[in-house]
Structure formats: structure tokens, C-alpha cells
């Protein structure tokens, strides 16, 4: 067993690496040492960075894309400074848009972007390249105050103390991440490379949301204000508030809960998507109507969603039509929000029929 813990303190990042992780304290120090202040953003010198941040955000919000390019054609110092400032501008923009769903969608796509860097860094580093692993340790220790250790003897599994692991909200949010479904040994939770990256993304998502929430700003620079206003109105045009798209009948509480989550910009776990999809198909919604709803999910991808819905409806290849899961099944998935109106039913669809019978 080998614990690599202490010497991550002496790791020197290559500057380029830091550009990919602008949320790290060490990256931030690149701008603080030049006495950068938010008011400076009013100056023309920063306009190109503001535009770059705005473009990134528009890509996230309106196209669900996160193809963002770091501009490497500069000195290392400048690259890092610019990326940190772009990151800050992005947070400012999102803060001043101040729509929960926007914040969440931004946080998700932004954390997915960083996740992509991390995966590629982990993959390109050869097996013995400890530096990149140390970056990972540093991120976890700095940002999430979790110490990661490496089990070198067994396939380079990562491990985290049980008590520390349970400090991560994901451990209580998703079944596969509950303690019971983790590999425990000798006081540690074991995670493979993919899992540690997934944990990273989830934590980073929460961290970004938290940073936006806690940001206190007296005055937002005019250029940024103008851009945020235009993004905000474009978003509001695309997302009028949801009216429950089910006849005039009662909406089953479990389905209502999903609608509520969608309006809040929350991401949905797979079983919830399945429940919603089958339920909408049952309610004779057209594919376009359904897409309209799924579009609001932060990780919406039109092609995939289209495919999945057609699959559920039995319109793909030899796939059979999926029926709406039973209340029992829904309960098992922790998606049931039973109220009085559910009395005596065993499938949410019965609530529609109940109403139609009258």
C-alpha cells in the first residue's frame, strides 16, 4: 500500500495546466498578484474576454454545447490570467441573470467542461505519471477538503475515508452512490478512475452554484449588465412557465414533482426520465411536445432524447412499447410523492382515467 498524500503540497503546476482549472486558488493567485479588481472590467482591455465568456454561456444555455477553446497562443502567464478572468466574468453574468434554472444549467455544463479536461489529463498521463494524479488530489483537497489516496497494488484504485466520502452529497442522492453500493475495505471507499471523475464533476457542480450564490457584488460593470439582460430575455422567451401538459385531469403527484424539478432547472435521474417519458407517451403527447419539455433539462441533447423517446414509444427497430411503471416500482425508485388522490391506485395512469370516468 502506498499513500501519496503529502508531496502534493510541493507540486508545481505547469501554467498551462492551471488554465484548465481556473477555480483553483493557485490559478486565482495569477490575477490577484496584479491587483486585478472587478471594476477593471469596464475597461476596453477586457472586452474580448467578456465576449468570450458570453459566447460560452450562450452556447451552454441555448445549444447545450460546451465546445470551448482555451486560447493557447499567448504566454503561459497570460493564458492563465485570461482563463481565470473569463471564469469570473461567467460567474458574474450568471449571477446577474439570476434565474435558478440558468445557474444550474451553467454549473452543469461548466463542470462537464472541466471534467473533460480532467479525463483527458488522466488518460494522457502515462501510468506512472504521478503529477497529474497529484493535480487530482490537490483539487479534491483544496476544493472539497477530501483526501484521496491511491491503492497502487490493485489497479490503481483511488480511496477515500468512509467518513469523508459521506461528506459528498452524491452519497445520499443516487442509489449507485449510496454507501451500500460502494466497495468498502478497511475503512475506505474505493473508486475507479471513472468514478472519481464523476465525483469530481458532481462536487464541482455544487461548488460553482455555491460560488455564484455567495457572490456579493455592489455594482456590475455596464458591459456585463447589458449582455446579461439580453441573455436573460432570450432565455425567458424560450422558456415560458410550464403548464402541466396533461389534459385537464389530475396530474399524479410523482409526475408533478418531476415538472417542478424541471422548472427549477434540476437535472433528472434516469428512472425519472423514464417515468416522465412513458407517462407523456401514454397521455398521447407528440414527440415535439415532449421534446419541448425535455429541452429544459440542463444536459439536454436533442438527438439522444429523440432516440430515447422513440424507443420508449416502441417506434424504433424491434423495440417494444414501454408502459408507465407501477406505483410500487416508482416507490422503489424514490420517485413517489403520494398524496390523498393516490388512494387505491397502483399505477399513476389510473389517475388520468379516474378523472375521465367521471
Amino acid at each position: 500500500m502506498c499513500y501519496i498524500t503529502k508531496y502534493n503540497l510541493v507540486v508545481r503546476f505547469g501554467n498551462k495546466d492551471l488554465a484548465k482549472y481556473p477555480f483553483l486558488k493557485e490559478a486565482f493567485s495569477y490575477i490577484t498578484k496584479y491587483d486585478f479588481k472587478l471594476e477593471d472590467l469596464d475597461s476596453k482591455d477586457y472586452l474580448h474576454l467578456i465576449y468570450k465568456a458570453a459566447e460560452k454561456i450562450e452556447n451552454y444555455l441555448f445549444f447545450g454545447r460546451y465546445e470551448y477553446q482555451i486560447n493557447y497562443s499567448k504566454t503561459h502567464e497570460t493564458i492563465v490570467q485570461e482563463e481565470v478572468i473569463i471564469f469570473l466574468i461567467s460567474l458574474l453574468l450568471i449571477k446577474s441573470i439570476s434565474i435558478d434554472a440558468v445557474t444550474k444549467k451553467f454549473a452543469l455544463l461548466e463542470s462537464m467542461r472541466f471534467e473533460k479536461y480532467l479525463i483527458s489529463d488522466l488518460n494522457t498521463a502515462d501510468r506512472d505519471d504521478k503529477t497529474i494524479k497529484l493535480i487530482l488530489y490537490k483539487i479534491f483537497e483544496d476544493l472539497f477538503s477530501t483526501k484521496i489516496l491511491l491503492e497502487v497494488d490493485v489497479y490503481n484504485f483511488y480511496k477515500i475515508r468512509i467518513n469523508d466520502y459521506l461528506d459528498h452529497p452524491i452519497a445520499f442522492q443516487e442509489k449507485e452512490w449510496n454507501l451500500i453500493n460502494r466497495t468498502l475495505h478497511n475503512g475506505f471507499v474505493y473508486l475507479d478512475g471513472n468514478e472519481i471523475v464523476r465525483l469530481f464533476r458532481n462536487e464541482l457542480y455544487l461548488l460553482i452554484i455555491d460560488r455564484i450564490k455567495k457572490m456579493s457584488i455592489d455594482r456590475i460593470p455596464d458591459t456585463i449588465m447589458a449582455i446579461s439582460k439580453s441573455i436573460k430575455s432570450r432565455w425567458e422567451q424560450m422558456h415560458p412557465s410550464i403548464n402541466a401538459p396533461v389534459y385537464n385531469a389530475v396530474t399524479p403527484p410523482c409526475i408533478q414533482h418531476i415538472y417542478d424539478q424541471i422548472s427549477k432547472g434540476e437535472n433528472l435521474p434516469h428512472p425519472a426520465r423514464l417515468l416522465l417519458g412513458t407517462f407523456l407517451i401514454y397521455s398521447n403527447k407528440t414527440l415535439e411536445e415532449m421534446l419541448e419539455l425535455f429541452k429544459r433539462l440542463p444536459d439536454f441533447d436533442e438527438k439522444i432524447t429523440r432516440y430515447q423517446l422513440e424507443h420508449l414509444a416502441g417506434k424504433r427497430g424491434n423495440s417494444k412499447r414501454y408502459f408507465v411503471p407501477s406505483c410500487e416500482k416508482i416507490k422503489l425508485e424514490n420517485l413517489c410523492y403520494e398524496t390523498k388522490i393516490c388512494q387505491g391506485i397502483s399505477n399513476p395512469t389510473q389517475l388520468i382515467r379516474k378523472k375521465l370516468d367521471i
Binding site: 489497479y155 475515508r161 459521506l166 445520499f172 449507485e176 454507501l179 451500500i180 468498502l184 475495505h185 475507479d192
Partner: protein
Amino acid sequence: MTDTLSFDSNNSGKNGKHASKYQNAEPDDKNKNWLEGIFRKYYFYHYTQLELGELINEHEFGFRLFDGKIRRHLAFNDKKELYAYIIKFSPSDIFYSSSRYQSPTAEIDQKGWIGSDLIFDIDGKDLHLECAQSHNLVLCKDCSFISKGIISKCVGCNSTRLQIIDIPCARCIKSLNVEVKKLVEILNDDFGIDSECIFVYFSGNNGYHVHVVDKNFYDASAKKRNAFAQYLMGKGYLIENLGIRRNNEGALIPMSNKILYNQGWRRRIFDSIHLSIQNHKIDDKFVKKYNRMQDANNNNIKDAINTHILDLSAKIDPNVTMDIHRIFRLAGSINSKSGLIKAFCKDLDSFNPFVDACFIGDSKVEIESKLNIKISLKGKQFSIKTGKNTLPEYVAAYMICKGIGDIQNQT
């Protein structure tokens, strides 16, 4: 010894009256009055049995007195103060928080929680043992008739208001031991808790309390403790963890070449179903073996695995583990459900609760038994007949605590 600690011995002695001026039991309840005296005598002579840590002033104490009233949120500056209280009031049950608090006497949300040992409760009742059917009794709450075995209606009056009186046997204790060992093994292997940090106590009646004193878990929140409990009980285990997934037809198939660290529940389950995994990898050999197994189980391998999980799981009460404000029976104190004490088990295999937890004196007293029953205590067998019997105090106390005998006038 100070005055407050003194035991009013004028009233004690052969006649068995240990009443003091602080007697709490109703004057006409002979059984309770007698027990209260017997308990007081035990605490007077054996107060050093009470197991108390260093920081006694940071724990909450609670007592049930013989008038049935419960007093909670009490605290004591030191052991002497506590001993004096106990001997004065001779409680029927003594409880103490595993948690330490800044102000233990405050209301729950004002106490200032510092931390707590991990506690696991294994109760004989939850094991649904077969032998319990033959030796447990049922008391009718309406006509007070006592029947043997497990029934759903009183044979005397047909009432369904029944209360089970458990009279655990040696086999019950053996089964409980097996459960304790399963729990301890998971705590060792998966949680990395050293056996030296695990303290097993006989609850005083029909179960065990397992205390884990480990700084790694001392400040764990109730939510985390609940996750520990779910883990130990094997609750919510996804079969995909075993490298098996559902294909499009809904059949469970192995994920070839998947790397899985063979530890924790995975190892326990694989060992139990005799499906071995080499080098933490789902290889061809595994797949072959799995397929054979699938055939042998009529393709219902999921149920088979779930049965194994149930067997392997620790039968703890999750509510006890997650409730950080619960007060627990103090080790060394008498359990009023049996007259036995909550006792530390140094070695589970050699521990015999009917001997090692029985501390009441052996002067003879007369007792009226409500039924014929065999009781074994302090290594002796007693065949008790309905009606009057002359028995040692410790047997009498056991019977009265169980509600199957009445103390006779001590003249």
C-alpha cells in the same frame, strides 16, 4: 462513606425488606416495593460495577423509577454524586447518553452535541427464532392470563391485547452471538475498525449492544450513521455491483472483462455463493461459472443472491444506530425486564448471561408462581411449580421482572 451514600441497613436483612424512606413504588404494590429494595441493595454493594467514562459530567442521564416515571436530561459532576442518586432513588432502569454534550441537561436541540460512539443494537425479538415459539410466554392485558407459545388470541378471554414475555434460552443466546459476530466482522473488514475498539455488552435481557469507540466515527452525523446501518443490513444493494447487468431482454448477464475490486459486500457475496473472481476481474472462468449457476437457479439468480445477502446481513435496529440523542442502559445496571445486568462480554463464546449477568443475592424468599416453569440461573436449574415456592432472591427477582410470579408477605 458519606451520609448520602449510606444504605439504610436497619430495614434490610433476612426478611428481605429493603425499603428506604425514598421508596418510589406504590405502597400497595408488593412486587415493586420488594424489587426496589433488592435493586437498592445491589447498587449499594455493587456500584463499582457501573461502567462510567472519564467525562461523566458531559453525558445525559435518565432514570425510570419504580413509580414508572421517567426522568431525563440529568447530569452529574462526578461518580460520587451519581452513586448517591442511584442508591437514594433505586431506579428500576438507568440510562445514559452515549453522546457527550456541552450542556447535557438542556433540551435536545440546545445541548451542544460533541460526538458519540457508534452503537448497534441486536435484539432477540428481531431474529424470529424458532425456539422462541416454544419458550416465550404471552400475557393477556385484559384478564392477565399467561399462555405458553406464540398465540394470537387469549385462551382465557379471547382478547387480542397480548404482550409477549420473552424468556430467552441458551439457543437464543447462541443465535444472538452469531449475529454479533457477523456485525463485528463487517466492522473489522469493511469499516477498518479494530476489534480493540469494539465492545460487546449483553443488554440484560434478550439482546446485545455493540459499542464502537473509534475517533474516526465519533463525530459522524445521524445521516451518516444511518448510511452505516443501511450498509450493515445490506439494504438497497444493487446486483450490478457484482458485475452483472440486465440486457435488452431483461436477462442478467455478466459484464466480461470488468474490473471490480473484490472486497466489501462484493467479496462477501461472491464467497457465500461460491463464485470466485480472480485478480478483481470478470474473466471467462467467472462467466462460465456464472452461467452454470444461472441454469441451476432456473435463471432466477437474483432471488438466490438476495437470500445470501439476507443471511450475511447484520440484524441491527437502524433507529438505534442513527439516533444520536438516545440514552442507553448503563453498563453494570440492572435491567428491570429481567433482573439481570447489562454486562460487558469479554469473550462472547464463553459468556453466559444467565451466570455472568446475574448479581442478585441468594437469600431465600417465598414466591407465588403463576405457572410451571423451568428457569436456569447462576448455573442452577429450578423447576418451579404453580403456587408457592421458596427460591433464592435472584430467581424471585427474575420471575417478578418477567411478571410471572408474586412475592409473598415477608414476615
